[in-house]
């Protein structure tokens, strides 16, 4: 630095002092000026004038000194530029204001208005300049960090306590040194990782690891143990903020205490602790065992806890809901169906004091409906579906049986992690043909999915680089993923190998070792490590999810981030511990929640969705919208079955017939069949001793005529219906022939297929099954001659094609394609494959884990419900059936509709509105509209 510049530098540093003159003077002048408006307080005039003059003068000097400071001390950056611009503007405006005032006073201008406007703009500019200036010295989040809702995700670094402790002792113990080191590293994480972490490595410096810290960066040694003044880090953090070399360049500068902390650590020899640094808050793994409050009149353990919570938060208990609302809520939550009007009546009339608990028990023991409702929850969570994108293996049958048998949660998790037959798909992962990003290899997907679904921790970030939102590192993610891999994985950072090999380890190594020679050995160990009681996090995560299902909002939110603070740790951990104590019985957990008074409270009205996010206080359950499946099932129950075909038929017999059609080709490729008629034949032998029974099942998309030995037996144009026909009488010993006219509807090429099965049962006990398969023959044109007869010469016919595989496999199974009695009235939506209607109502595609569904109603949804042909056809079908059933009695129809859809009788007003539409002689379209209005009404759409 040359001799002259110290003066300039000194003047520059006077800038922060001088700045207070224009700020004080001009603002006060402005306030006083306001007081004098309309000629009041005239005595102030003279004082104001001087304040404006001196204010303007000091503004100019301040701006000048500010510029000196910038030049001398290498300030730079966009914030500095903004401050500079606003400051100069202030000086210029202040000068013009002063001049204008001067002119006005000299009588050259007769209005104070211009001057006043100028003064106002000056003060505005001044405020802006002041704000930027303050942001420079105090940090940009100085103001915003104290605002409600501002969340600093890091654990707070509080150096003061430790510093006082250290000052008090002469020499530091190892424990104290460890503490000091962890504080300093916490500070690094807080202030430096953003640029100097393993992810970014600015200036070649990595402060995240021991090696990195002591290696230093491009500017030399970051730390010289014992010598703060030679340590690049210390030299940089003590520079004035805004200095070219000052650190940190982003965010708030370090406080005095923080700087002292770093200095003391270096002075004391820069000890490095072996302990892992936890920068972000992390929930303890083990469950606490909260005591139930004693001074409460509540009986149910949950209510005791909530009573204490309500007291603390000054919330009053509301009365529990009435029987009518309760039964609807309970049905929807346990079995996902509407209660029949008769069940509602019986429940209301029941005088048993324990009837609510009895109802919950009854519903929970309805295994089939319980399973078919909760299946959707588990399918979402375990990203299981009936089709496969990228070769993912379904686990449906295993999952279905697990729910039917109420498999305990620890067993369920054990089998997901260490697969048994049928549950391999969960850790199997999606593998698209070709090359995938390193963070998306199946092993890493397993790690991500177990993390998210079962443990409530985000492994996705850490599978690419050290996480920015949790303590998880790339290393941990790879250690976890390697458990599932035949060969030890090499770490990849952002898809690039870094030459470091993983060692198999669970995310929380403190729970136990998972080492093993083979994948199988490791999975066995992992499953044991995961389900042990010490891993309370596993149980807490599912408990929280179930609470969310039944109450509308989790105790911790988001549901996948279990390190977040619960609104009541006591409720969450008590419930989780109770769940573990029950042998992790999922139905016990549901019952425990549902029998509480808390579950039976009326829904809380929230004005805005945000009220459910931060700063949430529990007051009671939250209204939920019917899920895609619940809505579909309710419509199937009330109006007409929505999905005739399922993708998984738990009750079907395993016939395995395939859909066949005439082979249709274009340029040598198999294509979708053109509309029109095709002709099919199949001959078979019957033993001399005729079968006692001969039953056939047939359905053809879109319609058919069936002949047996030349005689027409049945026909149907509704492919949703499976016809079951006894043809024992038509058969004869020797050769018999089935002939079918198949009709493909529509105007363009579209799927078509015959699905056929014939069971011959002989007295001997022998059973012969004949199915539609590729041995059938077909013909494109109407055949000449008696083509349905046994003796017809079929030698010029072609072999049919299997239209159930490959690109044509998107067929469902018709529930009634079974020789068992046709008993099921409707297929549950959970068993049907994804349908555009359900998709639009929020059923996710299960390529990835989905743990919550969109609640927001959208225009596309409303359009589908308002004019979608699919939904309207169902309503129309239902309207015809209802008119027949109730013999066009409008009143009866209205009453029945209200009873079954809303579980109540209509009010007089409601009845009148409906009657106005239906009239004396209701038409199908009128009833269809009434259905529509009721099904779309909020009362029907929400679980209340």
């Amino acid at each position: 630095m040359d001799n002259a510049s110290w003066v300039l530098q000194l003047l520059g540093r006077l800038h922060p002092l001088l700045v207070h003159f224009p700020v004080g003077l001009l603002v006060v002048a402005f306030v006083l000026e306001l007081v004098t408006v309309r000629g009041k307080q005239k005595g102030l005039r003279e004082g104001i004038n001087w304040m404006v003059y001196i204010g303007a003068l000091t503004a100019i000097i301040t701006a000048l000194f500010g510029w000196l400071l910038e030049e001398q001390e290498d300030y730079q950056g966009s914030l500095v530029e903004s401050h500079e611009f606003a400051g100069i503007l202030t000086a210029v405006l202040a000068s013009i204001t002063a001049l204008t005032l001067c002119r006005t006073l000299r009588g050259k201008s007769n209005s104070l208005l211009l001057y006043r406007l100028l003064l106002t703009s000056t003060v505005v500019a001044l405020t802006i300049a002041g704000h930027f200036g303050a942001s420079l010295t105090h940090g940009e989040d100085y103001l915003s960090e104290v605002l409600p809702g501002y969340k600093d995700v890091y654990v707070e670094i509080e150096p003061v306590g430790l510093l006082t402790e250290l000052e008090a002792s002469d020499s530091l113990s190892t424990i104290q040194k460890d503490k000091l080191n962890l504080k300093v590293r916490g500070l690094f994480a807080h202030k430096c990782y953003q640029c100097h972490g393993e992810n970014k490595q600015k200036g070649g410096l990595v402060l995240e690891t021991k090696e990195g810290v002591f290696k230093g960066g491009d500017s030399g040694l970051a730390i010289v143990p014992g010598k703060p003044d030679e340590s690049e880090i210390y030299k940089r953090i003590i520079l004035p903020p805004g200095h070219k070399k000052a650190m940190p360049t982003k965010g708030k500068p370090l406080t005095e205490d923080e700087i002292t902390l770093v200095r003391v650590w270096i002075e004391q020899g820069s000890h490095w602790s072996d302990e892992a640094l936890k920068v972000f808050p992390e929930a303890a793994l083990a469950l606490t065992q909260p005591e139930l409050p004693k001074n409460t009149s509540e009986q149910h353990p949950l209510d005791k806890l909530i009573d204490a919570y309500f007291n603390e938060n000054d919330i009053a208990w509301q009365n529990v809901i009435d029987d009518r609302s309760f039964i609807r809520r309970a049905y929807m939550d346990v079995v996902g169906l509407l209660p029949e009007p008769s069940a509602v009546k019986a429940f209301i009339d029941d005088t048993d004091l324990k009837k609510r608990e009895k109802l919950i028990d009854k519903l929970l023991s309805d295994n089939q409906n319980y399973t078919q409702h909760w299946l959707s929850f588990w399918n979402d969570l375990l990203r299981n579906d009936y089709y496969s994108v990228g070769g993912k293996k379904p686990i449906t049958r295993w999952l279905y049986n697990a729910l039917m048998n109420n498999k305990s949660y620890d067993q369920l998790v054990t089998e997901l992690i260490n697969p048994v037959k049928g549950s391999e798909g969960f850790i199997g992962g999606v593998k698209w043909r070709g090359v995938v990003n390193a963070s998306q290899i199946p092993e890493m997907q397993a790690a991500q999915n177990i993390g998210q679904s079962l443990m409530g921790v985000n492994v996705k970030c850490a599978s690419c680089h050290n996480s920015f939102v949790s303590n998880l590192t790339l290393n941990q993610a790879y250690d976890f993923a390697t458990i599932f891999s035949d060969s030890i994985l090499e770490l990849n950072r952002c898809d690039k190998p870094i030459g470091k090999m993983a060692t198999p380890n669970f995310l929380y190594p403190e729970l136990g070792s998972v080492e093993g020679k083979t994948v199988k050995e490791r999975l066995l160990k992992l499953s044991k490590v995961m389900v042990q009681r010490a891993n309370g996090r596993l149980y807490r995560t599912i408990t929280n999810r179930f609470w969310d299902r039944l109450m509308g909002r989790g105790i911790v939110e988001p549901l996948d981030e279990m390190d977040n603070t619960p609104w009541s740790a006591a409720v969450l951990d008590w419930l989780s511990a109770d769940f573990v104590d029950s042998g992790s019985d999922l139905k016990h957990l549901i019952k425990r929640i549902m029998t509480s008074k808390v579950y039976q409270l009326p829904m809380v009205n929230y004005k805005k969705e945000e009220e459910l996010k931060d700063n949430y206080v529990f007051e009671g359950p939250v209204t939920r919208r019917l899920s895609a499946e619940q809505f579909s099932d309710a419509v199937s129950q009330l109006i007409a079955p929505m999905y005739p075909q399922v993708s998984f038929n738990p009750n079907g017999d395993d016939i395995r017939a395939i859909r066949i059609w005439h082979l249709e080709q274009e340029f040598g490729n198999v294509v979708l069949p053109q509309p029109g008629r095709r002709y099919f034949r199949k001959s078979f032998e019957v033993l001399k001793k005729m079968p006692e029974k001969a039953t056939l099942l047939i359905t053809v998309d879109n319609g058919y005529v069936l002949y047996v030995n030349g005689k027409e037996i049945s026909r149907n144009t509704n492919w949703k219906e499976v016809d079951k026909v006894n043809i024992a009488k038509e058969l004869k010993a020797g050769k018999n022939t089935i002939a079918i006219i198949g009709d493909n509807g529509g105007e363009i090429a579209n799927p078509a297929g015959i699905l056929f099965a014939l069971k011959l049962e002989y007295a001997s006990g022998e059973v012969v099954l004949l199915k539609s398969d590729t041995s059938w023959l077909s013909f494109r044109e109407k055949p000449k001659g008696d083509w349905t007869s046994v003796d017809y010469d079929e030698s010029h016919w072609e072999k049919v094609r299997n239209y159930s595989t490959g690109n044509f496999k998107n067929w469902g199974q018709l529930l009634d394609f079974t020789f068992k009695p046709h008993s099921q009235k409707m297929a549950r939506a959970s068993l049907a494959k994804q349908h555009p209607f359900m998709k639009i109502l929020g059923r996710p595609s299960r390529d990835i884990v989905a743990t919550s569904r969109e609640e927001q109603a959208t225009l596309l949804q409303a359009l589908e419900l308002t004019n979608g042909a699919f939904f309207n056809d169902i309503l129309e079908e239902g309207a015809h059936a209802w008119l027949k059933r109730y013999k066009k009695d409008s009143k009866k129809i209205i009453d029945s509709l209200f009873q079954s859809a809303l579980n109540r009788t209509p009010s007089k007003a409601e009845e009148n509105i409906m009657l106005k539409i239906l009239g004396e002689d209701p038409k199908p379209e009128q009833l269809q509209d009434v259905f529509w209005a009721v099904l779309l009404s909020p009362e029907f759409q929400f679980v209340n």
């Binding site: 966009s78 704000h131 940009e140 089709y387 994108v389 990228g390 698209w432 043909r433 070709g434 090359v435 998306q440 997907q445 991500q448 985000n458 996705k460 599978s463 939102v469 829904m603 809380v604 009205n605 929230y606 004005k607 805005k608 209204t623 340029f667 040598g668 490729n669 579209n750 799927p751 690109n807 044509f808 555009p836 998709k839 929020g842 595609s845 390529d847 990835i848 609640e855 927001q856 109603a857 959208t858 225009l859 409303a862 359009l863 308002t866 004019n867 979608g868 042909a869 309207n872 409601e910 509105i913 379209e925 509209d929 009434v930 209005a933 779309l936 009404s937 909020p938 009362e939 759409q941």
Partner: protein, 481 residues
Amino acid sequence: MDNINSRREFLKKMGAASLSAATTTLPGFSFLSSCAPEVQKLAATADSVILLWMAGGMAHTETFDPKAYVPFEKGVESKRVLSTFPKKPTVVDDLYFSEGLQSIGSVMDKGAIIRSYKSADLGHILHTRHQYHWHTCYEPPQSVQAPHIGAWIAKELGPANPVIPPFIAMGQRFTMGESEELKAFHSAGFLGSEYGPFLIPDPSTGLDSVRPPKGMSLKRFEARYKLYKELSYKSKIMEQASDYQRESLMRSMEQSYMLLNSPEAKIFDLSQEPKEVYDTYNTGRFGLGCLLAKRLAMNGARFISVSTEYEPFIGWDTHENGHTRLKKMKALIDRPVAQLIKDLDESGHLDRTLIILASEFSRDAILEGRPGKKVKDQVKQPDIIEHEKHYGMHRHFTDGSSILLWGGGIKKGLVYGKTADERPCSSIENPVVIDQVHQSVYHALGIHPETHYEIEGRPFYTTPDGKGKPILDLFGKEMRA
């Protein structure tokens, strides 16, 4: 309900609705950063985008980047065949297209061509995986659901006309092969289904999607909605469920009613077009899609895609008979695409509408994948061609293909990049990747290149890590020297 006042009221509500929707996810540029000046406002050169999607892999050497023509004759070596069509001049000097695309060639003075697009190297070829990548800019699988480019645009710009859904996808049915894979990217992903595509599989019946259900008179439709409202407002639930839930439901129902009952619905009605116009476009579903796209773009849709339907081995996915089938494909697109450009130009809409014609990758007679990274052949191609069915581009080629662009600020008559004239016909000048294509679209629409939302605790950008850059050379008025 159908007087002017209620219409104005409706527009107001729609505005409020989109505003409230905008606050549901955490936008990358929020109030908190408003003190920092890094967000510059971009000047948009386009208001809407039409994507003409050549699904199945369109060979550049057979279409917009012809190479040496080798006519068919028995015994010709496969490796000699670079193009199976002669080249034809276009309206732009020195720009030649393959035979059968003369109409499109005649409007190239209004647009530009990128001849150096390189698809991603995803190993073994799978169409839907490349299509996913093209439409979302992310390679599948992803650990969160990546949004379609149309969904990003719908989210960022919202509807230009409140009664026209901002993102409309036409021409693709989801009932055939690889349908689940197709659905995986026809999605708004984590942005929420509100921004998802309004699907019109068959453009000739587009009107059905925006008018009262079949067989329902307008009078009945109105009466039905009135009944719904009366019933809903009488219900005790109006005092129960949370306000925001109820409002969201009622609002969506009202929006839908307004759209279905609005005169704007006739925009979807192709019978409004004069017969000769209709006939010009009508080469099939794709052509009619172009016609509907024109009507929608003129009336405020933001992102419209018109796809030649993807079905394995059909359409552009020529595994054999490539030459014969391409004649048909060219006939399918040539006239309607050219007419679309002309019509938008004449009506003055071309200036603010960006039109893109692209495909997931190209094809070649010999190479599968890309040079040096050959992957498993999916087609048997004989060394010597004895039969016409082996004459054509039957393998998937990812190292060079063409993208056509018109309007929305795109330079007129520009030829950007080039491919080698000898096999492998790879991009050899100014290679372009998908990130650049997306960012160029966002650039034209004035969407900031680092637009992102937070999902599961991390930022998710329009292009991976927000690093994509637009190709600024594509924009501007002047012709290339």
